[in-house]
C-alpha cells in the first residue's frame, strides 16, 4: 500500500494528466520480487521516463529505499495506455 502511494506521489507532479495515473501491485513472483505496474497517459510517458531513463531510474531508487525499510524487494515497470 505504502509503495503504491509513494509512486503515485512521485509521478503526480511530473505529469499533465494526473487523472490517468494507475499503479497496480502484483503478487510476489518466483524470485521474491513484488512487481508494480505504473501506467500513465501516452503524452506523459516521456516526462516519467526522462532522458535515457533518468527520471524512471530516480523513481526506482527512491522506491527501493522505501521498500528496503519494510524488508521487501520490488520491481517497477512503467508503461503507457
Amino acid at each position: 500500500m505504502m509503495i503504491e502511494t509513494l509512486i503515485k506521489t512521485l509521478v503526480e507532479p511530473l505529469v499533465d494528466h494526473q487523472e490517468d495515473i494507475f499503479v497496480k501491485q502484483f503478487t510476489e513472483d518466483a524470485d521474491g520480487y513484488i512487481i508494480y505496474e505504473v501506467l500513465v497517459n501516452r503524452e506523459d510517458i516521456g516526462r516519467v521516463i526522462g532522458k535515457h531513463g533518468s527520471i524512471a531510474q530516480a523513481i526506482r531508487t527512491i522506491c527501493y529505499a522505501a521498500a528496503m525499510k519494510n524488508k521487501k524487494r520490488i520491481r517497477i515497470n512503467i508503461d503507457h495506455f
Binding site: T9, L14, Q18, G50, A58, T61, A65, A66, K69
Partner: protein, 204 residues
Amino acid sequence: MRKKIIEGKNIDEIKLKALDIFKVPEEKLNIEIKSEKKGFLGIGSSITALVSLNVNPSEEGLKFLKQIFSIMDIDAKIEMMKNKNEVKYNIYSDNNPLLIGREGKTLDAIQFITRQVVSRNSDERIMCLVDIGGYKQKRKMQLEILATKVAKEVANSKIEVKLDPMNSYERRIVHTKLSDWRDVYTESVGNEPHRCLVIRPRRK
C-alpha cells in the same frame, strides 16, 4: 511556471477550461488576455488568453519532499534556504542512512526528482540542492583531503593517478580544489556512469 493558451467565448469559459486543465484552486490561476475578437451582435466573438499557474516553485518542492517523507513514514525536518535563483533543502531525519543510500545514490535520486518538480513550476532555471544530515558537506571535505593527498603523490612521483568513478558534482569538487596547482592538472575520462577523474603531472 506552467502556461497554456486558451480560447473561449468569454472570460468565464476560459476560466472553466483552465480549471479543468490545471486542476488547481481558482486563485492560483493567472489569466492574461492576449487578443479579443469582436463578433457581430455577440455572435462569433472570441478571446484568447494566456493562462499561467501562480505558484511558488520552491514551496512546491518543499511540499513534495514533505509528502514523500510522510508516506515513507520517516520523521523529517526540512530547512529551506532561498536565494535569487537557488534553493537549498537541508533535511534532518530519524533515518538518514536510508535516505542517503549507498554512495549517496538515493540522495541523488531525491535531488533529481525535486529538481524536476521545481523547474516544472518555473520559467527560469532554478538551481536546486538537497542535502541530508550534512552528507554532502562531509563528502566535500573528504574529497578535498583525498585530492590534496593524491596530488602530492603525483607531483612527487610524476605518475598519473586515476580516481574511482564519481558523479559530476563530486568530480567538480576535485577539479576546483586542484585548479590552482602548479605541478598537476586534472581531467575527466570515460563515459557516464563510469566517468572518472585523472590527476596528471604537468610537464616542465
